[in-house]
Amino acid sequence: MRTESELGGYQEDGSSTWKELPGGRPSRKKVKRSAVAAVFVVVAALVFILYKGLSSALVYFYTAQQAIADKAQLGTSTFRMEGVVVPGTVQPTASGVNFSVRFDHTVVPVVEIGAPPQLFQPSVPVVVVGHFSTATSDVFLSDQILVKHSANYVAAHPNRIKDAGGSN
């Protein structure tokens, strides 16, 4: 049991030391109302994220090889295409950059409108967002390049012992 002195109590003037207890928060009703609002915001955010996530999952994600194979079906609809930038094909243009991506043995020419990201360079895996320019053309018109970097990390300056050993 707690003693009275630990609990605080009432002063002679009628005020009480209870009010000095921690937790001098806004009234419970107010707290509750804002909490209910918070729950609504959270639910709305949940719905929004699920909607965006699912609708983005509906934008097909093909490798360059699959895209060419399913070309008849894809037509000029928008999808994401994955491949590696073919070295020697990168040509900056006034509106962006032209290059080709390869997946296995399939090569697809890409016309990108817009600036490529910082890490864009030959031989990197990329995902381009866009569509084939016409139903019969193999040229892919892209409005966004995403660089897909690998999970491998290698020091730019390999240590010198290796150099001395002559393996590099």
């Binding site: 707690r2 983005s56 910082q118 995403l146 897909k148």
Partner: protein
């Protein structure tokens, strides 16, 4: 040394390890062949994400401990809530650092990719847990509902982790905790990565201890408030 001292000393320790991680990550480790200096974000981003998983793991375990009648105690509920709050801070930082890393590497601040979407979902689910706790006034009900909600929210954690495997995504797969446990990072870069994991875990532990103490003090105050109400009705005890 008393308990409060220990907590303070541990906090200082956590701070020191983070400082060392920063020095290693920003200056000592080399730039990456492909990413250049951007690779330095690997020493914070995955570690912060790991702590979020850890925090929600603790939340789940203490929620189970509360729900199980043999171990039922409000302290488990307070620990679950404390760990969630810390976890939410770390999840938000995971999204922020990921976004900062994504802009120069992928080329976008945000994309509705599987890993990113499920992580955003994680943040909102646990914010929902915290909001739900605030709506429920009755302490027992709050603890029970909270525990159930926490366990439901936890379903998303393995989904987030496996998202890079299950779906085609922009996000790279795990560097260290991959299927064959074959790390793709070596030397001082690997050591700094490990130190980052340890230091942010230490920060988590300190934060959860502090938050739990606050929750306990608030509960004590609440209990006294109830006793006050009783006192007013019954007269002097």
């Amino acid at each position: 040394m008393n308990r409060r001292r220990w907590v303070a000393v541990f906090g200082a320790f956590a701070l020191t390890t983070v400082a060392i991680t920063y020095v290693m990550g920003l200056w000592v480790t080399p730039p990456d062949v492909f990413q250049g200096n951007l690779v330095r974000l690997i020493y914070v981003h995955p570690a912060v994400a790991w702590v979020a998983y850890l925090a929600y793991g603790v939340t789940s375990l203490s929620s189970i401990a509360y729900l199980w009648k043999k171990t039922r105690n409000y302290k488990w509920d307070l620990l679950a809530a404390s760990s969630t709050e810390v976890g939410v801070v770390f999840t938000a930082l995971t999204l922020i650092t990921g976004s900062i890393w994504g802009r120069p590497t992928w080329g976008v601040w945000w994309t509705w990719d599987a890993r990113l979407t499920t992580t955003a979902l994680l943040l909102v689910l646990y914010l929902g847990y915290l909001a739900l706790r605030r709506v429920t006034e009755d302490r027992e009900q709050r603890a029970k509902r909270g525990a159930v909600a926490a366990l439901i929210a936890f379903i998303d954690v393995p989904i987030v982790h496996q998202s890079v495997v299950w779906w085609k995504t922009l996000h790279q797969s795990a560097t260290v905790f991959n299927a064959d446990l074959n790390p793709k990072i070596h030397g001082e870069m690997a050591w700094t990565l490990l130190l980052g994991f340890l230091s942010f875990t230490a920060v988590y532990l300190w934060m959860v201890i502090k938050r739990y103490e606050i929750a306990k003090a608030e509960m004590a105050a609440e209990e006294q408030g109830i006793e006050e109400a009783i006192r007013e009705r019954v007269g002097s005890l």
